[in-house]
């Protein structure tokens, strides 16, 4: 076959496949006569590979379960932070201290959150470090950079908050812009506080989206690694971790939800004034902020359950 035709035909295959077999497939095709049957065969097989029936399927399962469990982690973190800042240093904190039943709910929430977060770390870190090791062994800086984006985005957001605190004596967080309290005189004006707060939210949201995209790209790039035989091992590790920890994470989150629901009802009945005071996220009432946290926790539990089901729904283990 002519080199131009060969280049065109090889180009029909997915990038990952080309990176591994492109060179040798090109050599083989150059030695083959250009027949209609041969061309049909190559185009048909290229479409088959494009359908993701090779390494793509392996990586897709890891990608989906890992993305879901990371979404669960982010939702738990956001819900926990929201609950903490909604109660900390507000009239609700005094209500929690004054009523032992409410205090028990608070500790149930805290214990559930810590357990869920610990489960997420134990489930995710080995999988991420296996991906990083694969990238390192394959000398793939593109994968490494995508993996490094998540801690980089977090550091950028933290740095922004530290710089604003150092310059204005005020933390640009969405719980401290305004509400039913008086702002100290040395804080920036309300308009500036809103602007700085939106920058923080944009950094967190943009960083989160960029991290999710880059992580999925990093896993898609794994298909083009020369150590393709390592992918089934990565899939097994991911399945094992998500199967083992998916349900406990979900249970711990459900425990947090139960604590938050009962605690919310009790707080509203013990002190309706404190529950309706605007101490919550973006100057919302404490009750609305509390309900938003419950919504996030429900989403987190659903994502953890989805990750567990995703890891358990795949077919047979590839043989070694």
């Amino acid at each position: 076959m002519k080199p131009q035709v060969v280049r065109l035909l090889v180009g029909l295959y997915p990038a990952g496949w080309r990176a591994r077999y492109g060179e040798e497939f090109r050599t083989l095709l150059e030695e083959q006569p250009a027949t209609l049957g041969g061309l049909t065969n190559i185009i048909g097989c290229a479409l088959y590979e494009r359908a993701g029936l090779l390494g793509g399927k392996l990586v897709k399962e890891v990608k989906n379960s890992l993305t879901l469990v990371l979404c669960a982690g982010v939702a738990t973190l956001a819900a926990g932070a929201n609950l903490y800042f909604t109660v900390d240093d507000t009239p609700l904190a005094a209500v929690v201290q004054a009523h032992s039943l409410l205090a028990v709910c608070w500790w149930v929430m805290a214990a559930g959150s810590v357990l869920a977060a610990a489960g997420l770390v134990v489930a995710v870190v080995p999988v991420l470090s296996a991906i990083a090791r694969l990238a390192w062994a394959g000398r793939r800086r593109d994968i490494g950079l995508r993996l490094a984006l998540a801690p980089g985005a977090l550091m950028a957001a933290l740095l922004w908050i530290v710089v604003v605190v150092a310059r204005t004596h005020w933390a640009p967080l969405p719980w401290g812009v305004t509400g039913d309290w008086l702002a100290p005189a040395n804080w920036p004006p309300l308009k500036v506080r809103w602007e700085l707060c939106w920058v923080t939210l944009a950094l967190l949201a943009g960083g989160g989206i960029a991290c999710a995209m880059s992580l999925r790209q990093a896993m898609a790039l794994l298909e083009s690694l020369p150590q393709k035989h390592a992918l089934p091992a990565l899939k097994r590790l991911s399945r094992h971790r998500m199967r083992k920890f998916g349900l406990p994470i979900c249970m711990a989150t459900l425990c947090t939800i139960a604590g938050a629901v009962v605690g919310g009802v009790l707080a509203d009945s013990y002190s309706p004034g404190a529950a309706q005071a605007r101490f919550g996220f973006l100057a919302s009432t404490a009750l609305v902020s509390w309900l938003a946290s419950i919504g996030l926790l429900v989403a987190s539990a659903a994502a953890a359950l989805g990750s567990f089901r995703c890891a358990g729904s795949s077919g047979t283990e590839p043989i070694q």
Binding site: W17, R20, Y21, E23, E24, F25, T27, L28, L29, E31, Q32, G37, G38, T40, N41, I42, I43, G44, C45, A46, Y48, E49, L53, L54, G55, K228, H229, L231, P232, G315, T316, E317, P318, I319, Q320
Partner: protein, 113 residues
């Protein structure tokens, strides 16, 4: 022991998907030593009368390599040879034994009729 070997063989077949038969031909071609793609096509044509298309051949090679039943060797003159792994040899032997028993059973039925 035998049932676990059977399970492993059937798992390998499932993973090979539509390339299951070409994969067996590729493994049989590599049974007497390493070969590159062009030599495999010629050998398979001579051995079975089936001429594999290049796409089918590399579809089978990719899956066999993924299953660690074959492994690549360093390239020679832009040609990339492959050889059977010990696991591949075991799977090939088990599959050929099954086919052999199937052939004997089918022939004996024909002779009995």
């Amino acid at each position: 022991m035998r049932s676990s070997q059977k399970t492993r063989t059937s798992e390998a077949e499932r993973a090979l998907g539509r390339f299951s038969d070409p994969a067996l031909l590729v493994m049989a071609s590599l049974a007497d030593g390493p070969k590159h793609g062009h030599a495999m096509i010629a050998d398979i044509a001579q051995m079975s009368g089936t001429r594999l298309g290049p796409g089918t051949l590399y579809g089978a090679i990719a899956r066999l390599e993924e299953q660690r039943l074959i492994e690549p060797l360093p390239p020679k003159d832009r040609r990339y040879p492959y050889r059977l792994t010990p696991g591949g040899e075991r799977v090939l032997r088990a599959k050929l034994n099954t086919l052999h028993q199937f052939t004997l059973a089918g022939l004996s039925k024909l002779e009995a009729s």
